[in-house]
């Protein structure tokens, strides 16, 4: 048998046009975000450090300073942003041109899987149950892509993306956006948090993200350590805010002013 031509050597037009379909998906996201001044991923390698809490209050502070702000809750399996932004459930106005995101406290617009799921229900997909781990991650990435590409934000100064713990969603985000987003990192003071967040920050650096700085949350009592300062020194970035257990609006306003 003669050598068989390789995939890349077969260049006839294909009716399926799968690469073109993928390209169209990417263009849809790019076009949707073209009116967004900047996209900031709020992330941490550690769970329970208050990423969503920080995201919501930072968004409100930015909105109070007359900036148009949106929050995309990228924690598809544990979404909390609507509750933090005081958004009651109401059907999302939907047309061919996109989904209208509701506005919450201080006028912050947001979208979240919590708005789409039955109360208390987990995010579940139709499909074969056996070995669902093979396709579930791809399905969640598709959901993230659609939340990025199909929500009619309009013109925004800042879109904050509230990421779940770990790195998976961040990596998906980089692939979907085509360029790594700027990153705001949240940690608590403990060395355990520092070690986990360090891994996330390294991954972000390796992907090419701009590290905006660190927010050290839950400071002042209960947690011992210097994670914020340690990470700031290691990555040559500022500690943008230290958030006590009962922060006042001026603390959030100061954080917003530094971004």
């Amino acid at each position: 048998m003669p050598p068989i031509r390789t995939y890349h050597e077969l260049t006839d037009a294909d009716r399926s046009g799968l690469p073109e379909q993928i390209g169209a998906q990417r263009r849809r996201v790019a076009e949707r975000l073209a009116a967004v001044g900047r996209v900031i991923a709020v992330m941490s390698g550690k769970g329970g450090v208050g990423k969503s809490y920080v995201t919501a209050h930072l968004a409100r502070a930015l909105a109070r300073s007359q900036r148009a702000v949106g929050v995309l809750d990228a924690d598809l399996n544990g979404p909390t942003i609507p509750r933090l932004l005081g958004v009651d459930h109401a059907p999302l106005p939907t047309s061919q041109s996109g989904i209208e995101p509701p506005a919450g406290l201080d006028g912050v617009r947001c979208i979240s899987m919590a708005m789409l799921l039955e109360d208390g229900a987990p995010l579940a997909f139709k499909g074969p149950a056996a070995e669902s781990f093979v396709w579930r991650g791809a399905m969640e990435a598709a959901a993230l892509r659609e939340l990025l590409g199909d929500v009619a934000w309009g013109a925004l100064d800042t879109l904050l993306l509230d990421l779940p713990p770990g790195m998976q969603r961040y990596i998906e985000l980089c692939d979907i956006l085509g360029a790594p987003p700027a990153v705001l990192t949240v940690t608590i003071p403990t060395p355990e948090s520092r070690d986990a967040v360090r891994r996330a920050m390294r991954a972000a650096v390796e992907r090419g993200s701009q590290l905006l700085g660190i927010v050290e949350n839950m400071t002042g009592q209960g947690f011992e350590g210097s994670a914020g300062d340690d990470l700031a020194k290691e990555f040559s970035v500022p500690v943008l805010a230290r958030i006590p257990w009962h922060p006042t609006p001026d603390i959030w306003n100061a954080l917003g002013a530094r971004l």
Partner: protein, 147 residues
């Protein structure tokens, strides 16, 4: 994924897609030189992987809908998640009682999107009333298996 007719050294062309409803997929490809046809059969997991990419084998027949994959694939969606009123029954073609009843059996999470697709089809084809027969024709022409 591409198919090559080894005898002819020709790239085979997509012919037809079928979704029999058991989670599997069949897609046929034909050699443009010798006419040989082969079928690619995927198991449910492989079919699911294709779905998760949000692409259509054989090409798109309708424009991408907002949150299309989410609406088609999430099984725990709330009934009143979306307000598709802007493209509802009142727009364009009328819906016969039988078609309305059939549409009501579509899960509400995805119903508005399905309604919009049928309404757009009717508008494009100058159809004044959507009936079950129109829905069948549209579904076949547009490849809307499962809608």
């Amino acid at each position: 994924m591409k198919f090559l007719c080894v005898d002819c050294d020709k790239q085979m062309a997509f012919e037809e897609r079928q979704l029999p409803g058991d989670g599997t997929l069949a897609a046929t490809f034909k050699c443009p030189k010798c006419g040989r046809v082969v079928a690619m059969l995927t198991n449910p997991m492989e079919t699911q992987l294709v779905s998760s990419l949000g692409v259509e084998i054989g090409g798109r027949t309708v424009p991408a809908q907002p949150l299309e994959t989410v609406r088609k694939m999430v099984s725990t969606g709330r009934d009143d998640a979306f307000d598709d009123g802007a493209s509802g029954v009142g727009r364009g073609a009328l819906w016969s009682p039988e078609a309305t009843e059939r549409l009501s059996r579509v899960p509400s999470f995805v119903r508005g999107m399905v309604k919009r697709i049928y309404a757009d089809y009717a508008k494009e084809h100058g159809i004044v009333e959507i009936t079950p027969a129109v829905m069948d024709t549209a579904r076949a022409e547009l490849g809307l298996e499962g809608m």
